[in-house]
């Protein structure tokens, strides 16, 4: 069997999948609408707490006022939580643009720049200014940091706080949208792949298809092509809807987003195949699906930044591939960063795809 026939065969399968999909009106509508609804509903107002958030203080001043300010920031512990709010690193002689790049690289959630004449000015009762840079792609943390510093300085009086906006004026929605896209693609690819196969097992059509000369590879490839088109289409619809409905702005490259989503979809398809190989019908597939994909939804920081959750939860999140997809999506879509910034995420997602796909192909047998 040549590669060309296998490819043609897979297109026959992909075409059939689409035909069947578009006849399931009750499925198509939620498939595209549900994530939009999620953005609109969850998008309005969400708070959170921050702890051990890494911040950098660039102190070019040597006087008393700045050292007491630093002391206060470093030791601050919120009322309801035993942990200090910040984990502070100190340095000096760093330009604002250099500081920004540290935030871009995800090293710090905030950088406070203290000018060399700060203590002098305070002592003389002159007005002076501080600059606070925050990672506004993490809206909750960034707001908490700004509010905290603002409160702190209100005691001191004549200090002006500059808070330049690195990523523009960001809202919770900007934080939420990339996460929801990753979540949508993940849940969508796992659930539609798996339930379709489980359904075909149930009604005998899968076996019937495997009795024909078509190869197992072509069947899987056909289903994969179908998923890639479907999931990318959903992502595009979602980004456009977020733009039209809530004014979401995409800062990054569409190409890079597609790359992340393609790799992630492959992983999702592989996982759907693996899961469907363990069940005989749709109903048991959906039960298994609940068990496996639900934790991803709530633990991986789709709705809140991982910096605001307890450690144990964060560790779970680091084991789930969705976490890395979300991180990559945010880095690209909000921070407008390039390939190098998401290379770690991509490596992990690629591994996920390779593992699930290999396992899926292996478990997807001709034998029923």
């Amino acid at each position: 069997m040549t590669i060309k026939t296998e490819l043609m065969d897979s297109l026959i399968v992909a075409k059939k999948e689409f035909k069947v999909l578009f006849r399931k009106k009750w499925l198509v509508i939620p498939l595209f609408l549900f994530p939009i609804i999620m953005i609109v509903f969850f998008g309005y107002g969400m708070g959170g707490t921050v702890k051990n958030s890494p911040i950098l203080i660039v102190n070019d001043d040597t006087g008393r006022a700045s050292s007491s300010l630093i002391q206060e920031i470093g030791s601050y512990t919120p009322k309801y939580d035993g942990n200090p709010m910040f984990s502070v690193t100190y340095t000096k002689d760093m330009s604002q643009s250099e500081a920004e790049s540290k935030i871009n690289d995800g090293l710090y959630k905030g950088v406070l720049l203290i000018p060399h004449n700060y203590s002098d000015s305070i002592a003389k009762n002159e007005s002076t200014s501080l600059t606070l840079l925050t990672d506004s792609s993490d809206t909750t943390t960034s707001q908490t940091i700004s509010n905290f510093i603002r409160q702190l300085l209100s005691k001191t009086g004549s200090v002006i706080l500059n808070i330049p906006n690195i990523y523009g004026n960001l809202e919770y929605l900007d934080f939420l949208t990339p996460g929801v896209i990753a979540l949508t693609v993940f849940m969508g690819s796992v659930a539609t792949t798996g339930s379709a196969i489980a359904g075909e097992k149930e009604d005998g059509t899968l076996i019937r298809m495997l009795m024909t000369p078509i190869s197992k590879r072509s069947v899987i490839l056909g289903k994969t092509i179908y998923q890639l088109i479907l999931q990318l289409a959903r992502a595009v619809v979602l980004i456009l809807a977020a733009f039209l409905l809530v004014g979401f702005h995409m800062n990054g490259s569409w190409l890079l987003i597609s790359l992340v989503l393609v790799i992630f979809t492959l992983g999702g398809v592989g996982m759907g195949i693996v899961m469907s190989s363990r069940v005989e019908d749709m109903e048991s597939f959906f039960q298994l699906n609940m068990l496996i994909t639900m934790p991803s939804m709530f633990v991986t920081g789709v709705f809140f930044p991982l910096s605001s959750v307890p450690d144990w939860m964060r560790y779970i999140a680091y084991c789930l591939p969705l976490t890395y997809a979300i991180d990559a999506m945010r880095t690209i879509m909000i921070k407008g960063q390039g390939l190098h910034a998401v290379s770690n995420d991509l490596i992990i997602l690629t591994l996920f795809a390779i593992v699930t796909f290999t396992l899926g192909v292996h478990l997807f047998r001709r034998e029923a």
Binding site: V20, D203, G204, I207, T212
Partner: protein
């Protein structure tokens, strides 16, 4: 008569939930080119399992099978285009129309588009489904589905047909249509291998009948001779003679 299927010492063992089931237990037989070959036997006798192995879907635990001269394990891709299968379990896409189901099947066998369209029209008409050609099969009656299944397995012009219980659960009219088709396809030179639980069907149609019971093939001959040697007046009695009165699980 030349054999088109040769089965030697075929065994299939399933391991499921800690139990070991020998579904097919050392079975050997030939099917001759151009004959109608029927398989009868109680539920669980191993008929479908044998079919699955003959049609390359299941790997034998041991033993060998050749179909049209090809080894089922090593040359399954040579065999698949030559055979047409009607599975025991109905398998149509409920959200595709009758025509689309047939097109999909034909495409998987790589039937050229024009030829396929003509055949689909021809066979739909032959089984009286032309008026329902563009309806989803999800709404079809059992008889309509089975007629469609049967013609879905002839579009690629196979040499050998495997029909697993094509008449179970159908009314006499539909069964009549199905067996007429079987005869017609056989007259066109195709070998037909089928299973049934209706003894008179096997009696009327088969050149030879095989009786299976508990994984063994307990008899194989032409229906008349089977009746003679067992002193029976019909195939029902032959069946009971070989398989006993006991109900199977």
């Amino acid at each position: 008569m030349e054999p088109i299927i040769e089965v030697k010492n075929l065994v299939k063992v399933f391991h499921s939930r800690g139990r070991t089931i020998t579904a097919v237990n050392d079975v050997s037989f030939d099917v001759f080119n151009g004959e109608i070959f029927g398989m009868i036997g109680p539920n669980g006798a191993g008929k479908s399992t044998t079919f699955s192995m003959l049609t390359t879907l299941l790997k034998p635990t041991s033993g060998s099978i050749t179909v049209a001269g090809f080894d089922v394990q090593k040359q399954d891709d040579k065999i698949r285009p030559l055979i047409g299968i009607v599975p025991q379990k109905l398998s149509l896409y409920p959200l595709l129309t009758a025509r689309e189901n047939l097109e999909f099947m034909g495409n998987l066998y790589n039937v050229p588009k024009k030829v396929l369209e003509d055949k689909i029209d021809y066979y739909l008409k032959l089984v009286g489904l032309e008026a329902s050609a563009d309806r989803y099969t999800g709404g079809f009656s059992g008889g309509m589905k089975q007629r469609l299944s049967v013609i879905a397995a002839i579009l690629h012009d196979p040499q050998i047909l495997f029909w697993d219980e094509p008449s179970t659960g159908l009314d006499p009219q539909t069964r009549n249509v199905i067996w007429k088709l079987g005869r017609k396809f056989n007259e066109e030179g195709r070998t037909l291998v089928f299973t049934t639980h209706y003894m008179e069907e096997a009696d009327n149609l088969c050149d030879r009948v095989a009786v299976m019971d508990s994984g063994k093939m307990v008899a194989l001959d032409d229906p008349e001779r089977l009746k003679e040697t067992t002193g029976s007046t019909n195939l029902e009695e032959v069946f009971v003679h070989f398989t006993g009165e006991q109900v199977r699980d």
